[in-house]
Structure formats: C-alpha cells, structure tokens
C-alpha cells in the first residue's frame, strides 16, 4: 500500500521537471516538496551560516525551512508551490541571491 493507492488516486500522467539538472517525475497537483519527496530527495537548501542541509520541516508554510529556487526565483516555499511541467528546480544555497 502507498498513499496514492490508499486514497485510490488516479492522477493524470506524470510529467518531468529537473532538480539540479536531474530529471525528476512529478504528478499534477503535487507541490514541489511532494515531488521531491517522491523522488527520494529530502534536502534542497543549505543554510547561510554553516551550509547545513534542510528540507521540509513544518509542511504548512510556517517555518520557511524548505526554501528552494524555482525557475530562477529563489526563496519559494517548496511545501506550498505547486509543481508544473518543465519546472527548473534548484537547491537554494544561502539566501538564494547571486552574491552569496
């Protein structure tokens, strides 16, 4: 049993996005975080101070730990942002700015 089976989900066909250049399958309706979890990726940010890895923590948009760069826009909360076909997702380093 997996969650999709448990809820008897019949999503449309999976599409492809990239995470740091690697092709990742995603389902329509999922958030960026859900797609990355499905692909077995649990960390996609490194902290500004000590460069430690982070991923989803609160899952509801409160904590900002899951920040990610989507299509060139940094500081997107992966747990809130819906994933779209062709998205270019990059791990966010530090503040996500270009001067880090």
């Amino acid at each position: 049993m997996n969650p999709l089976e448990l809820a008897d989900a019949r999503p449309g066909p999976a599409f492809t996005v990239t995470f740091d250049g690697r092709a990742v399958d995603a389902l329509p309706g999922q958030t960026v975080a859900a797609a990355l979890w499905t692909a077995g990726v649990t960390a996609w940010r490194s902290t500004r101070g000590s460069g430690r890895p982070r991923g989803v923590f609160c899952g509801i948009g409160v904590c900002f730990d899951c920040l990610v760069t989507v299509n060139g826009v940094p500081n997107q909360r992966a747990c809130l942002v819906p994933v779209r076909p062709g998205d270019v997702i990059r791990a966010q380093e530090g503040t996500g700015g270009t001067n880090d």
Partner: protein, 468 residues
C-alpha cells in the same frame, strides 16, 4: 448600513466554514478567504484536485462532518451568498475610517498580486500551528513536524520516508502515527512523553466526554492493527545522521521529566515526525489590536474579540481540536448575523453548540496539563544545538544573552542574538527561547502575517492605514 451586510472570514478550516455557513444562512454575504486551493484547513486538508483521489476519506476522520461543510459551502457559493477566495494568503487586516474592516491578501503563483476585501465584520479563523521544541539533531533533513508529515500525506499523497518514528506529546500524534502506517510507512515507534493514563485519573472530565474516550480507544485499536509500538513517558533525546536522519535515541522519563539513566536505546529510521502541541495563529488579531489571553485571542460568549466588528473562533482562541472549532465557528456566525442585522442575538439559538464548547474547553484544559512537554526538556538541549533554525542561533548563544548580557525578555534576546529575526519571525523558536531562558512566552506582535512584496505595499491606495 445599506444593502446586505458583508462578512470576511479568514480561514476555511472547521471554524471558518462553520462560521461562514451559519452567517450565510442568515442573510449575510460572506467572503471566505483561505490560502489553500481547497477548503478544509489542516484538519480536513484534501488531496490536490489534480491527484483525483476517489477515496480521500481513507486519510480522514469525521468525514461526514466534512461532507456537510463542503456541501453547505458549495450550496452557498452556487446561490451567490458566499464567495470563496482560494489561494489567497492574508497578510494583514485593519480597521478603516468608517468602521469598516479591510482584509489584505496576496494571490497568484508567486503570491505577488495584492487583493483587498472590505467587510462590515471579520471572523478570524486562522487556526494554529505546531510547536516543536529543539533537541540535538532536530535540524536534520528527515525530521519533520508531526502535523507537517500529515499535511504532506493528506494534501500530496506522499510519505516522508519508509521508516518513521512519531514522537513528542499531544493528541495529534495518534492520527499522525496511524495515518502514516495506513499509507504504507513502517512506524517503528510512537514515542509520547506524557503518560496518557494520566487522563484516566481525571475521571470527572473524561466521564463528560464519552466521544473523546471512544476516539482514544479507536486509535488504540488502529495502533495495534498496524503493530505500532507505543512508548509512553519516553522522549527522543537525539536525532542521528550527518546529511540526513539515520536514527533516533529514545529514553524513558521519570515523573519529574528527567531521563532515566540506562534506558536510552537507538531506533533506526529515516523520518522523525515530531510535535509538542499546538500554538494559536494570532498575527491578524494582534495587528487589529485584539486583546490576547496568554497566547490565544480573547473572546466573549459570542466569540467576539474586544475590537468592534472582529470575531474569532477555533484554534486562534485556544487549542481544542476540530469539534470545538466547529462549535465556536457556528456560534460566531450566528452572533455575527444577528449583530450585522442590528439585533441582539439570542444565545438560546446556539445552546447545543455552547454546551459542546464548554465540555470541550474543560476537556482540553485537562489534556493540556497531561500533554505538557516534559519538565526537563530544556536541560537536554546542549549549548551547540541550533535553536533558531532560520538564523542558526545556538542554545549557548541564547543562554549567554540572558546569563552574560542580562536580557530579560524575548525581544531583547532576539535583538542580542537574532533568534527569531529570520524568515519565520520566531514562530518556530519562540517557545524554545522562552523555555531555555525563563523569559515569558508572549505573542510576537508581528505587523504582517507573512512576507509582502514591496510592490504590493507601494500599490496600496493612499488612504489605507488610517485608524479611526
């Protein structure tokens, strides 16, 4: 007042939906504003529409209550009594010069389009969020909040990993552990720092709550069926791993909340779902100037705050679960409708909801004392443990702000250390900073409930911000 009175409801969880339905049924035009794409809030969070789940109820409790709310909302929307603004993130609510209220939201894929809703009354049904107290290793990827794991499961139909430990304290851990297990995760242990049997010692409270007892028994059965090992009066003392979680060490607690020597043992897992109770969301109430009682919005018997035109219901007025939120929302909606029509509400009309509210408030007051985090938690946080996740401030720095620099309140600790100054604005670390320093935990007094693009602020009409 001319025309139909207008109510803005912020939050489409149980409290907001109950309030919206009660008011709309009584001749009020309701604008229901919510950040999610679908109504339901966290408790009734639905799988994303495009996932086309045919059996979403498999992940849910109280499905009939949800169906009633959903059908009611659909009916009111279809018949033009209610607007549902989904995907709208409210960042501020304010009183205008003519006594009207204005709710400001962001929408759009990048949340950079400003939207303002004017109303004669506002119902704040902003819910709560989970408290997590720090321990060594809690910033490792793979450590998630219990509610977060549940939200990702209900909304995205994904699991955080294969082998999960669910830990912390509070009634939420039960549905999280059983939900993850039902969805195919191996739940290696449910680690509860309280002893739920303590609830049984509060017989008078429990006797008045047969529904809660039945719910507890139901979860106990599910835990057995999924072979989830439950460790009561245990706590996670450390999460292990370098770049991601590999296991946790758990230990038994004595009655004073201290770890019993020799009881530590390691459990391998790739996910830790952890939570230590809930805190109310009060940002909007604070901006409006509503008086708080402790960490929650203070309301009267009609769910009115002390700011004219502003009502509050659900977890924002105190943590108590979905059934309490439904009762409070219903009362608020009826009160709002009467008051906006210029009449005195008759509390006899909502007597059953008021009885439910009284019973559940009593129950959760007792549950709160049982499910308090263990007394010794702060002593186990080493000086090198990061406490403020955004600004990477350690427990040692925070202790130093009090010990060497003489800080006496959270705000001073924040100014000296940056703890609470990052993206989340202290929502995550404030309870921990308070616990580590002995400073009183008070609400954060944030002017905005979420980050706002400068362009949205710049585009506000000039007469905004006036206070009467």
């Amino acid at each position: 007042m001319t025309g139909q009175p207008r109510l803005a409801v912020v939050g489409a969880g149980p409290a907001g939906l109950a309030g919206a339905l009660a008011a709309a049924a009584r001749g009020v035009h309701v604008t229901l504003i919510d950040a999610a794409d679908q109504a339901g809030g966290q408790f009734f969070r639905q799988p994303a529409t495009a996932l086309r789940a045919r059996r979403p109820q498999a992940l849910h409790h109280q499905w009939r209550a949800w169906q009633r709310l959903r059908d009611g909302l659909e009916r009111h929307v279809t018949e033009g009594r209610t607007e549902h603004l989904a995907g709208h993130h409210v960042w501020c609510a304010e009183r205008g010069s003519a006594g009207s209220l204005m709710v400001h939201a962001l929408r759009g894929a990048a949340q950079d389009e400003g939207v303002a809703v004017r109303a004669d009354a506002v119902l704040l049904a902003t819910g709560g969020y989970e408290q997590v107290l720090p321990f060594p290793g809690w910033t490792l990827p793979g450590v998630v909040t219990a509610g977060g794991a549940q939200a990702m499961l209900k909304g995205g139909l994904v699991l955080p990993g294969r082998t999960v430990v669910v830990a912390g304290t509070g009634p939420l851990l039960l549905p999280v552990a059983t939900g993850l297990a039902a969805a195919g995760a191996r739940v290696a242990a449910l680690v509860e720092s309280a002893d739920p049997r303590e609830l049984l010692r509060r017989a008078p409270v429990l006797a008045s709550q047969p529904g809660k007892l039945a719910e507890g028994a139901w979860y106990a059965g599910l835990l057995l069926r999924h072979r989830v090992r439950t460790l009561a009066r245990h706590t996670v003392v450390e999460a292990h791993g370098t770049d991601r979680l590999e296991g946790v060490t758990v230990a038994a607690l004595d009655r004073g909340g201290r770890v019993r020597p020799g009881t530590a043992r390691r459990i391998d897992c790739d996910t830790l779902a952890v939570g230590h109770g809930m805190l109310p969301h009060t940002d909007l109430a604070e901006t409006l100037g509503c008086t708080l009682a402790g960490m929650a919005v203070r309301v009267d018997g009609e769910q009115r705050t002390d700011v004219p035109g502003v009502w509050a219901a659900g977890e924002s007025t105190g943590i108590g679960g979905a059934a309490l939120a439904l009762a409070e929302g219903h009362i608020a909606g009826r009160s709002i409708a009467a008051r906006l029509h210029g009449t005195e509400p008759d509390p006899r009309g909502w007597a059953p909801a008021a009885r439910t509210r009284a019973r559940l408030r009593t129950f959760f007051a007792a549950a709160d004392s049982v499910y308090a985090p263990p007394a010794g938690w702060a002593d186990r946080v080493g000086d090198d443990t990061v406490v403020c996740r955004c600004e990477e401030v350690t427990a040692g720095e925070i202790r130093g702000a009090v010990g060497s620099l003489g800080a006496g309140d959270l705000r001073t600790v924040k100014l000296l250390t940056r703890a609470g100054m990052g993206w989340c604005q202290g929502r995550v670390c404030a309870p921990a900073v308070a616990g580590l320093t002995g400073c009183p935990l008070n609400p954060g007094r944030r002017p905005f409930a979420r980050p706002v693009p400068l362009g949205v602020l710049a585009a506000l009409p000039v007469d905004h911000g006036e206070k009467d």
